[in-house]
């Protein structure tokens, strides 16, 4: 695992897991540049559809093992954990 490519909340979430395949974590994958063919193929193994060659940020729901593999890829800039937002109606 290249921990320099993993943000604080994702690092904290990974520290909790003992199972390499669970839980499934919703993440953002920041690319260094638009994906080439090999990067696109790798992303597709994670269930990510590369619909546009202009995109630099992709979303995925992946396992801790897949986060580890992703962090080793040279074309990955950073991987961030998706967080849950709230509705903003009053109290």
């Amino acid at each position: 695992m290249n921990y320099r490519k993993v943000d604080a909340t994702l690092a904290a979430a990974l520290a909790e897991t003992e199972n390499a395949e669970e839980p499934r974590l919703a993440v953002f994958i920041h690319m260094k540049e638009a994906p080439n063919a090999s990067a696109a193929t790798f992303l597709e193994t994670l269930g990510v559809k590369v619909n546009s060659t202009r995109q630099h940020i992709f979303t995925a729901t992946i396992s801790p093992r897949e986060v580890k593999e992703l962090s080793k890829q040279p074309w990955v800039r950073y991987v961030k954990l998706s967080q849950k937002l709230r509705m903003l109606n009053g109290k």
Binding site: R4, A12, L14, H30, G47, R77, N89
Partner: protein, 613 residues
């Protein structure tokens, strides 16, 4: 007669009628749906609402001259002699009888205060041809306010094959729209403000079409939803505006988070996003401190005592500081137990766990975030093994030590599992600034604060209700900017309290907030945002290629803080309350689009230009 089933106002009218005849109803008929003719032989009649079981059979009441207008539904209307009110209440299928009232157009209060009716009269705009995307808790597809205008629902919460933007959830169109339900009601209310069609509680752009994403509120899925809406809009060749009445504080509050970045990347001509500023204006969720080189400073935060559903089972601090600084952090518990100081960890996992008697503390201190070149640290506090119910109540302290200091400024935000962000900072480090997080922090988004246009209303039983907000002022709950780094947010303010709009038939509503069948009243920057979304839809109807920068500039230039000169920015108001009629100046010159009548000529701006044959 079963008195408990009859609303108080109607009961009083009945008793006055019983005592004094038609003369006793003169005081009531101005407000209640009563038909009274003093000089006539006809008895007084009443128009009422009946609440009953959805499939209740009420045709037999006709024998008592009680005409129920609908054969099904949980709320129906009826016309009856007032003297037969008792017979209606005696029917076991009838649960409640409420007078029909002469209503005041609640939604018209908000638009009137920003001169929207004048703008729409002048421009004749209604949102026709524009797509409004609502990423929220879903929509009531059967609500009459949206009839025939919901084009698609991507319900991300149901099992299904998904869409190109994400292989989860299911997409519905046509007769299948009703498979998706809004059981929370927030999304339906928001959609009604932006685009509801109703004589009394209509929205801003009542002819816009709707694309709905029912979300789990995961940021990644919201991002997928934005891409979905804009992709569908491109396929349809139509301009679109997305409404995001949601937010959080787990980000750096500077727009560098991935959801904000995706909003910036996906926005463009005819592709606009509107976001809510947040509702933490009254909450001490942000602290700021400056730590000197070699020095120690403390930030205190309070975990409230609570139990059961309200218990704090998770408390966290999200801290950010300049990449040119290096700090060590430690946490001290209410009873004085402290973790060791932990600095930046650049090799291996940056997570360390410390089991204090008052709680399990997890400190995460990674190297710089490459997206903004700043340092982030995360403090998580969980109940200790010995007290599994809740995090220890009391004052906790974050301690910071300056190892290498150039800037020294540290900003921290609280997070917890409660509904209302109950863990708060206390003491001198509390700062009423920088409370706008993602996605409101997105540079290209139009971020909306809330303005209070109504503080009193009557619920559906005619009972007066009141909120403690100040009328005709910025709502005190509206979150303050600017962003970390100083960027100006919010952008503008719009009516956000108390706003009447569509109620989802599948959502519960507290009686105080139910104002009429199918409608409810709510407050929040959630409500202010679709007001602007609807306005943006009107602007896009006229100019489908407006880009976010121009749209934002026009809205800012058409806004004003009361009693301030135009063009003043305030961290609570943004550039002020939108004045819709001021937008008219951008429509005064008609678009110089070419007209080709087919006779070999081209007309531009009224000038005939002959083409070569």
């Amino acid at each position: 007669m079963i008195h408990e089933k009859i609303a108080p106002g109607l009961m009083v009218a009945f008793e006055d009628y019983h005592e004094k005849g038609a003369a006793g109803l003169l005081a009531h008929k101005q407000s209640l749906g009563l038909i009274v003719e003093e000089s006539s032989q006809k008895p007084a009649r009443a128009v009422v609402f009946i609440r009953c079981q959805e499939n209740a059979r009420l045709e037999h009441l006709q024998s008592q001259k009680i005409r129920v207008n609908q054969s099904s539904g949980k709320v129906r209307t009826a016309f009856l002699p007032l003297a037969h009110l008792g017979a209606l209440s005696d029917d076991p299928a009838v649960q409640r009888i409420i007078p029909s009232r002469y209503v005041h157009p609640f939604m018209d209060i908000a638009p009137g205060k920003v001169h929207l009716p004048e703008f729409k009269l002048k421009t004749n705009l209604s949102g026709k041809g524009v797509l409004i995307g609502i990423i929220d808790s879903g929509i009531d597809p059967k609500h009459p306010a949206f009839k025939d205008r919901i084009l698609r629902i991507w319900d991300q919460t149901l099992p299904g094959p998904g869409v190109p933007e994400g292989d989860y959830g299911a997409e519905f169109t046509g007769n299948y729209l009703t498979i998706s339900r809004d059981t929370i009601g927030h999304g339906t209310h928001v959609a009604g403000i932006a685009a509801g069609a109703d004589k009394t509680y209509g929205g801003i752009a009542p002819n816009a079409d709707l694309l709905i994403v029912k979300s789990s509120f995961q940021e990644a899925h919201i991002a997928d939803g934005i891409r979905y809406i804009f992709r569908v809009a491109s396929e349809m060749g139509r301009p679109a505006v997305v409404n995001l009445s949601l937010g959080g504080h787990g980000d750096p509050h500077d727009g560098s988070d991935p959801l904000s970045q995706i909003i910036d990347a996906e926005s463009g001509p005819g592709r606009i996003v509107c976001c809510a500023a947040g509702n933490e204006g009254n909450d001490n969720i942000h602290a700021q401190i400056t730590v000197p080189q070699g020095g120690n400073r403390t930030v205190s935060f309070h975990v409230p005592p609570a139990s059961g559903k309200e218990a704090i089972r998770f408390a966290a601090l999200n801290g950010w500081y300049s990449g040119s600084d290096k700090f060590e952090i430690a946490v001290r518990s209410p009873r004085g137990f402290q973790t060791p100081y932990q600095g930046i960890i650049t090799s291996g996992s940056s997570v360390q766990v410390y089991d204090l008697p008052d709680g399990r503390v997890r400190l995460t201190t990674p190297d710089v975030d490459p997206m903004n070149e700043d340092h982030n640290f995360l403090i998580e506090i969980l109940p200790s093994g010995k007290s599994p119910e809740a995090v220890k109540a009391g004052t906790w302290r974050l301690r910071l030590h300056g190892l290498e200091v150039n800037s020294g400024q540290v900003d921290v935000w609280t997070l917890d599992n409660s509904q209302h962000l109950d863990v708060v900072f206390i003491g001198r480090t509390v700062q009423d600034t920088m409370k706008i997080g993602s996605p409101g922090a997105a540079a290209s988004a139009i971020t909306v604060a809330s303005y209070t246009t109504r503080i009193r209303w009557r619920d559906r039983d005619g009972q007066p209700e009141e909120t403690g907000l100040d009328l005709d002022d910025i709502s005190d709950f509206s979150s303050e900017g600017p962003l970390r780094g100083g960027s100006q947010k919010p952008d503008i303010a719009a009516p956000g309290a108390m706003i009447a709009s569509a109620l989802s038939a599948d959502a519960a509503v507290a009686p105080s907030y139910a104002i009429a069948p199918g409608f409810t009243i709510k407050a929040g920057t959630s409500m202010a945002t679709p007001f602007v979304t609807g306005l943006v839809a009107l602007m896009l109807e006229r100019d489908p290629q407006l880009n976010p920068e121009t749209m934002k500039a026009r809205l800012r230039e058409s806004s004003k803080i009361p009693k301030q000169p135009a063009g003043i920015f305030d961290s609570k108001w943004g550039y002020g309350l939108i004045e819709a009629f001021a937008l008219w100046r951008y429509f005064e010159a008609p678009a110089a689009s070419p007209i080709v009548p087919g006779d070999g000529t081209v007309h531009i701006g009224g000038v005939v230009v002959k083409t070569r044959t």
